[in-house]
């Protein structure tokens, strides 16, 4: 190995780096970098041709500057030129620059593609390797178009060098990931599978990555890979530690390849062929055995590599979930790791065991480790390890150990990190409910939860306890007594006041016989908390009071006095005031019979999925919890339904709160919390309908803010991009004079828009609503601008979350800058998976030039003076057209104002005509615009004249506005 001197001869580079290191401040560093950038730029621009060495030096400097976090906006052309050099060193640095600095939507891709094409054709393996690396790392669609046909051939050709095959495999993987439609399956697929048999382990490593991805998408076609992978794996695990030479790492044969092969096998169920299956079981047993053998080396590298393979083998065993013997062995192995001195192993063991707990074969075996796991919860110094321990306790919980686990979790909650408290609260609440035999235990547990971590007890949790108490009459008296006692504490959490208020309002009569909790004492106790509570809680308490009026007629006058007080009747909060007024009135005029009917005890809630579970699923992502739930179904208790929105008597006296209208326009957090409840009853209803938060957003009523009666959105339902595009053209016209509305809707998806513009800037909120109850996966909206449009209109947006839950709505913000006037509209392309199918929707985004209009008021005289100034024939565009809509002057006026210009009254001598004026703002120019619309009622025609200082602007505005009348 040659000794490499520091700096390796590139003195300029060394000096520059030293300078940077010596910079005392960020400012000094930036100054030095700018100086260097100027220097390099002038070198690149200079007449003197740079030699390879200098180019390399400068490119290295640019790489270094880029690394420091500075964008490099030049040098790309120079790098592209280096690609066509015949010298390996220059070519190499060119490719390096490109793969680090060029992203896949660069305009240079075409030039780069040319160089790649030449290098691929060169048959020089080194050059081919560089070219393939570049495709694998940049991997744009244009590259896929150019090379997707070529690369499979290189990959399976008999005479391709091993290193080139390796690169080709990952190159193909990249193209398949970015543009699966361009990589056709063909006869190469079967030959790719056989690369698993290749003599060269590097080729097998690369091929395994490729095949794993392909097999996930096309399991049938790559089924043969299973037996090949098993035999390859078997050869590796049974090899002597010297057999694989350089692929042996600290006496472990090909650990990374083994891991990949084990991953590949996890794409499939256990092999059907008994021979293959036997061989695989043998492999897995060998791996488990090796873990028990004395290590071949004391080095930690040896055990790490061995354990990497072991953990992957265990993942496969769990994935197959079919060999009880292996599952139990895996569990025992993990049990050993739980007490290992290395934190990494404890962490991974807890994580693996969590999945193992859901297998019926190993659930019991996992349970034997409960003490160790509880101990981990108490002693681990790493929060992420403790978090794993909580997960595992949750996973191993069943009726036999629920009380112990819930108690330990409650204990831990007192000192738990804030970051994981909410999750623990949810888990405790779920376990307590699911495994409750004795519901007094359940009530105690939840009240404890509120006491210990009240702030982390979400609405779902306390709604749930009320729901359960209402549904089970055996626990109601106990619940009333317990909350009454808990409320005695001088400081109690507001959530406790809510639960207490609700439960006493329903079941306070059950404890009223005891003189220590007489009606008046109950009322005074609750009312002593009233003034410290937030508005929603006070609203709930007012409902409790009116329920008391029915339950305890003897304290009716006390309650009426409270309701009548100024602080209630004249409360600044509309909701509280309204309740006080209505409840007072109700208590005064209604007969006892009516009171008893209206304020009757809540009927039981129909049983359905717990809303807490839904919340936990949302928090953790659907897969983890669902699996757990399914496997545990048979063990779960019977009572645990959720609730349908039940008819709520109390709500009849209260009208919905005006704030409910806020829902739907996702500007605030669009959750239940955003809409204060209309009454205590409907508050429960809102949340109990489990996907409520999501559904209400999509409900028609909540979309008033951008509902648009004139939108014939049903016409636009289409999956065919071509068809959609045509529809979208009409649609764009509909958005010319307004900024909000429904852009697109089909059976699956609704797209709403809300936008605002100011001068040359704008912001558009796009709302994607999932109308189904199924998740959308890999949900990717993309904005597509032609090159032309891109230079005139700058759109910035962030990617949205790739999964959209059923019934949910996600929002995307697009920041818009108009650089110069433009004609086309950008296209919004949305791709996602729904069920098993791939969906593709394209619509034009209604961003039109007139959005950047600012109205200008002017007097008649000024108007005609300017009108004359713009009399050049290029400045005027005129269109005479037939009216498409009834010629109503009021509508016409509204449209002109909606178009963005000022509507100038009493300017035109003919009062039937309309004139307008405004300025189109772009980054590069401001363009004054005058317009005149002359209707001819007899002929049902219009003449529209636009005069601006720029011909293209006149033309575009005239086109846009002509479509409106």
């Amino acid at each position: 190995m040659p000794a490499v001197s520091k700096g390796d001869g590139m003195r300029g580079l060394a000096v520059f780096i030293s300078d940077i290191r010596n910079c005392k401040s960020k400012e000094a560093e930036i100054k030095r970098i700018n100086k260097e950038l100027a220097n390099i730029r002038s070198k690149f621009k200079g007449d003197k041709a740079l030699d390879g060495y200098s180019k390399k030096k400068y490119v290295c400097k640019l790489l270094f500057i880029f690394l420091l976090g500075h964008d490099i906006d030049f040098g790309h052309m120079e790098a592209v030129n280096l690609l066509s050099s015949n010298r390996y060193t220059e070519k190499q640095i060119g490719y390096l620059f490109i793969s680090v600095l060029v992203n896949s939507n660069s305009e240079l891709i075409r030039l780069i593609n040319n160089a790649i094409k030449n290098d691929l054709a060169s048959r020089n393996p080194t050059f081919m390797g560089l070219a393939l690396h570049c495709i694998a790392n940049v991997g744009s669609r244009e590259m896929a178009e150019a090379f997707a046909g070529e690369i499979p051939k290189i990959l399976v050709a008999g005479d391709t060098m091993d290193s080139v095959k390796q690169s080709a495999a990952l190159c193909l993987l990249r193209l398949y990931r970015t543009s699966p439609d361009l990589v056709p399956m063909g006869d190469w697929t079967s030959r790719v599978v056989h690369l698993l048999n290749d003599q060269h382990l590097g080729v097998v490593t690369a091929a395994t990555s490729l095949i794993t991805t392909l097999a996930q998408k096309n399991p049938e076609e790559f089924k043969t890979s299973v037996s090949l992978a098993v035999s390859r794996l078997s050869r590796i695990v049974t090899s002597a530690s010297t057999d694989l030479q350089d692929y042996t790492y600290y006496f472990v044969p090909a650990p990374w390849l083994s891991v990949k092969l084990l991953r590949l096998l996890q794409c499939y169920p256990p092999p059907e062929d008994p021979a293959v299956r036997g061989r695989l079981t043998e492999c897995l047993e060998t791996i488990l055995n090796k873990a028990q053998e004395p290590p071949k080396s004391k080095k930690v590298q040896h055990s790490n590599a061995k354990n990497a393979v072991l953990f992957e083998a265990i993942s496969l065993i769990i994935h197959h979930d079919s060999e009880p013997n292996l599952l139990v062995r895996a569990c025992n192995q993990l049990g050993q790791f739980l007490q290992h001195r290395e934190t990494n192993l404890r962490y991974l063991a807890l994580e693996s065991m969590c999945t193992l707990a859901s297998s019926e074969f190993s659930h019991e075996a996992v349970k034997t480790h409960i003490e160790t796991v509880i101990n981990a919860l108490k002693t681990e110094r790493d929060v992420s390890v403790r978090q794993r321990a909580v997960d595992l306790l949750y996973a191993m919980c069943d009726r036999s150990n629920a009380q112990q686990i819930v108690a330990e979790m409650l204990n831990y909650l007192e000192t738990a990190d804030y970051s994981i408290r909410e999750e623990i609260v949810l888990k405790v609440a779920i376990l307590a409910e699911k495994y409750a035999v004795d519901y007094t235990w359940y009530v105690d547990t939840i009240l404890n939860l509120i006491r210990i971590a009240g702030d982390y007890v979400s609405e779902e949790v306390w709604y749930r306890v009320i729901q359960i108490v209402i549904n089970r009459d055996d626990v109601q008296g106990y619940a009333a007594k317990t909350v009454f006692e808990a409320l005695q504490a001088p400081a109690c959490h507001e959530n406790l006041v809510k639960v207490g208020g609700y439960i006493l309002g329903e079941f306070g009569n059950l404890i009223a016989g005891d003189p220590r909790s007489s009606p008046l004492i109950q009322f005074n106790l609750l009312h002593s908390k009233f003034h410290l509570c937030s508005v929603p809680t006070r609203a709930l308490l007012l409902s409790t009071y009116i329920k008391f009026v029915n339950l305890f007629p003897e304290i009716k006058t006390t309650i009426q006095d409270v309701l009548r007080s100024d602080s209630q009747l004249k409360n600044a909060d509309v909701e509280l005031q309204q309740r006080a007024v209505e409840y007072l009135r109700l208590s005064t005029i209604a007969s006892t019979d009516i009171l008893a009917t209206v304020l009757e005890e809540m009927p039981p809630f129909p049983e359905r999925e717990s809303s807490i579970l839904a919340k936990l699923k949302k928090k953790k992502g659907p897969s983890t919890v669902t699996d757990l739930e399914e496997t545990k179904k048979e063990r779960s208790a019977d009572m645990n339904g959720g609730a349908e929105p039940a008819p709520v008597n109390a709500s009849t006296v209260s009208t919905p709160s005006p704030s409910a209208d806020l829902l739907g326009l996702g500007t605030g957090p669009p959750t239940n919390a955003a809409s204060p409840p209309a009454s205590s009853g409907s508050l429960l209803v809102d949340v109990f309908s489990e996907p409520a938060s999501a559904v209400t957003q999509l409900a028609p009523g909540s979309q008033e803010n951008f509902a648009s009666p004139d939108l014939a959105s049903s016409e636009l339902v289409s999956e065919e991009p071509a068809e959609t595009a045509r529809g979208a053209d009409e649609l764009t016209h509909k958005f010319v004079c307004k900024n909000n509305g429904v852009l697109f809707e089909n059976q699956l998806l609704q797209i709403g828009l809300k936008s605002e513009f100011r001068q040359n800037l704008g912001r558009m909120f796009i709302f994607y609503g999932n109308k189904t109850s199924t998740q959308f996966l890999t949900f990717t909206p993309t904005l597509i601008c032609s090159d032309d449009l891109q230079s005139n209109l700058n759109l910035q947006t962030k990617p949205v979350d790739p999964t959209v839950d059923g019934g949910a709505q996600v929002q995307q913000v697009v920041n818009i800058e108009c650089i110069s006037d433009f004609t086309e509209a950008p296209v919004l392309n949305i791709q996602f998976r729904y069920g098993g199918t791939f969906q593709n929707v394209s619509v034009k985004l209604p961003i039109t030039l007139n959005k950047f209009f600012q109205p200008t008021e002017m007097a008649s005289q000024d108007f005609f003076q300017r009108w004359k100034q713009l009399s050049n024939p290029q400045q005027e565009v005129q269109n005479i057209f037939k009216a498409k809509h009834p010629m109503d002057p009021e509508i016409t006026k509204a449209k002109i104002i909606g178009f963005g210009s000022a509507l100038l009254e009493e300017v035109d001598p003919n009062p039937a005509n309309f004139v307008g004026a405004g300025i189109i703002h772009t980054r590069t120019a401001q363009i004054g615009c005058l317009l005149r619309l002359e209707p001819n009622l007899q002929a049902q025609m219009y003449r529209l004249t636009l005069r601006t200082s720029k011909e293209t602007v006149s033309q575009r505005l005239c086109d846009l506005l002509s479509e409106q009348f």
Partner: protein, 144 residues
Amino acid sequence: MIKFFLMVNKQGQTRLSRYYEHVEINKRTLLEADVIKTCLSRSKEQCSFIEYKDFKLIYRQYAALFIVVGINETENEMAVYEFIHNFVEVLDMYFSRVSELDIMFNLDKVHIILDEMVLNGCIVETNKARILAPLLILDKMAES
């Protein structure tokens, strides 16, 4: 899949960054600063895997230099953890007792080594001799 491969020193200066998914330059700086902050705040007793946003960080410390790899759920934590060490051993072999300075002054070569080992976010080569082969050809050409 490997999302990114970073070498950052204790002062928070990035010495090598390689992203296998496109990340805006300004976001890179923020991400790198946050990642190193997260790693520095951890003690030796804590594990080397950090759940970070929707992915995981695997990190190892060599003297004042941290190597941090971002991975998604399809990678094996332990395998990546040991892969980092393999990478360092390759650097050590080439630079004979590698130091932070070697990495700064030979950024291009470190990139070549990493590109031989990780391609498109996948581990592609682990055999040290084969990893270094193209670099040795390059050195030979530079000498002549």
